[in-house]
Symmetry: C2
Subunit: 336 residues, 2 copies
Amino acid sequence: MAGPTLRDVAKRANVSIRTVSNVVNGYAPVSDELRARVQVVLDELGYRPNLIARNLKQGRTGMIALVVPELDVPYFAELVREVITAARAQGYVVMVDQTDGDAERERELLARDSRATMFDGLLLSPLAISAEDLRGRGNRVPIVLLGEHIFNGSFHHVAIDNVAAAREATAHLLEQGRRRVAAIGDQPYATGETAQLRTSGYRQAHARLGLAVDDRLIVPTPRFHRRLGLEAMEHLLALPDPPDAVFCYNDLLALGAMRALTRAGRRIPDDVAVIGIDDIEEGQYSTPSLTTVAPDKAEIARLAVDILLQSINGTATTPSELVVPHRLIVRESTAT
Amino acid sequence: MAGPTLRDVAKRANVSIRTVSNVVNGYAPVSDELRARVQVVLDELGYRPNLIARNLKQGRTGMIALVVPELDVPYFAELVREVITAARAQGYVVMVDQTDGDAERERELLARDSRATMFDGLLLSPLAISAEDLRGRGNRVPIVLLGEHIFNGSFHHVAIDNVAAAREATAHLLEQGRRRVAAIGDQPYATGETAQLRTSGYRQAHARLGLAVDDRLIVPTPRFHRRLGLEAMEHLLALPDPPDAVFCYNDLLALGAMRALTRAGRRIPDDVAVIGIDDIEEGQYSTPSLTTVAPDKAEIARLAVDILLQSINGTATTPSELVVPHRLIVRESTAT
DNA sequence: TGAAAGCTCTGCAACGATGCAGACATCATG
DNA sequence: CATGATGTCTGCATCGTTGCAGAGCTTTCA
C-alpha cells in the first residue's frame, strides 16, 4: 500500500536521508557520482515524494478550492474550466465544490470543521451567503469572490460591470425600436445583488432614452435556470399587452424563454427579440442562435487566480475590486 | 497567518496536548469538568485541526480526484455534479481536473511527480490514454474508470452498455420506417473504444432487421462537440442520397446536427429525425427538443464512488465491471 | 488492609518530509 | 606548515497530529 519513503531509499543507497532529499529536490550540492548512485535507487524503488508530509513541513498544499453554486450550469462549468487552466499555469490544482445555492451549505463550507486547512486559498462564487457569514468565520484562508460585490471592500473581488452590461443589452433592444422590453431574472431580496444590478442597468437604458419602464414587464425568478425562463416567458405572453423583446439576466433564462416563444408559435426575433448574458456555447447552436453579452471568462479566472495567489504569498495589498471587460455579441435572436 | 495548534490550546488550558486532542476528537475518557474547561479555550482561540497533519498521521486525506476530458462538456459537468454529491455523502471531497483529451496530459497526471499522493483514490474518465499507460504507473492509488472498458479486467469500471444503447437508439429510428439512418461520431482507432461500441450497436440494429448498412452514412468525428456534429451533418446533406435520420453518438453532436439541418431548411423530424445519447438538460430545451438515450448518471456516480471507497478500504475484491441502466427518452426530434 | 480494577490524564514516539548547523575532507594560500 | 575557504555530506529538530503505553489516583472487594 504505502510507497517507499526517503528512509527506504537512504538505507538502500547507504546515504543519509537528507542526501536523498537533496537529490530529489536538486537542492544542496551533491557530487555527480553520488547523485547518480542515489538516482538509481530512486528509480529502482519507484520513489515518489509524499506530498502530505512535504506540505505539513512547508505549510502549503498547492491546492486552492473553487466553490460555485451549480457545476452543471454552463456558465459555471465554463468558468471552472478557465480557473483550472489558470491555476495549473501557476502550479496549483483546484478542488471544486458546489453549494446548490444553499446558504446552509455555503456556510458549512466556511465553518469550523471544514477542510479549509487543506487549501491555500478559496475562490467563492457566492449565491446565498451573506457578508455577515463571511466576516464571521475564522478568516484563516485568503478568499477571492467571483461575480458579486456585496461585501463592499472587505474582500478581493472579480466581476464584470453588471450595470453597464445590462444597460447595453437593454439599449441594444431599444435601439431596434422595441418599446415593450421585458426583463426576466430580477431578485429583489438580500442575496440577489447581481440581479439587482442588472435591473438597474435595464432601468438606466430606458431612462437615457426618456422611456418609462412598465414594472409588470419585470419578472423575478429565484434562480437562473432554463425552466424558470420558460415559465416567466409564458407569464409574459399571457399579459394583455405582451412584450416585443426580452432581456434575460442570463443565457439559460433566455434559452428557456426562447423555448416558450417557439412553442407558442411566436417568431424570434420578428415577434419577440431575445438577449441574454454569459455567452455560453449553447447559445451559438440554439435555434435561433442567441444574442448575448459575453464576459471575458478567461480573464475573470486569470485575475481571480492571480490575486488569490498574491494573497497567499502576502504580496496582495488592500482588497481590490477588479472589473473585467464584456462585449455584446449579436446573433439571430435579435438580428434585424 | 497560522492558526492556533493543539500545543497553544494545551499551554493555555494547562493540560497536556494529548488531552486537548482527546477533547477535540471525543476519544478517550475525559472528565466532564476538564472537557468543558478545554472546550472554552478551544473556542477562545478558535482552534481548527490542521488536516494536513492529521492526514499525514492517518495516511488518508479524505479527498478523491476526478479527472474528465472536458469540464464544459455538459455530460461531464452533470457527471461531476453527481460525483461530488455522491462523494460528499461518504464524507469525501473531490478534486477535479481536466485533460482536454490530451494523452500527454492524462499521462502526466498519473506520472512521477503528480499529486497522486494527495488523494486516496482516483476516478478517471479516460479519453486518450491507453491501457499501457495505466498499467505502467506506480499503481499507488486505487483507480476506477468511468465510461470505458478497454482495460479488460485490470481496473474497476462503471459504464452503460454502449452496444445496447446504440442498438436501441438506431432501432427506434428504423422502427419508424426510416431507411437511410446515418451515424455521426465513429472513431475507428485505438482510443475510440466507446465510439466503436456504439457503431457496433448501430450495425446490430440494422442486422436484426435484415437491413444493409451504407458505410458512407457513418461519419467519424475526432471529438463529440457541437461544431463537429454540425459539420458532419452538412457533409451528409451534401450526399447525392442524404439520410432521413441520424443517430449521433452524443447529444452535443446531435445539437450541432440539428443546427445544420435547421439552417439548411430541413424539417426535424419530418425530413430528418435526430437522436443522441447522454440526456443533457440542454436537449430538453432545444428546438425541437432532442430524443436521446439517458444513462443513469447519478447511479454511475454512486457506484463509482462506492467501489473506489471500497478499494481504498481494501474491501473491494477483484476488479468489477459495473453496468448502469439506460433508457430511451423520446422527444420532438423523432416524434412521429 | 491490600491487591486488583477502573478512571483520568500524560509523555513519548511516530507519520515523511525539510531547515539548519555543523562535521569532515580537500584544497588553496601566505 | 598552519590557516582558512570550499565543497560534500550528515544528524537533529521540527511541522501538528494521533497511537500507545503507562502513571497516578480513586474505588472496589475479598
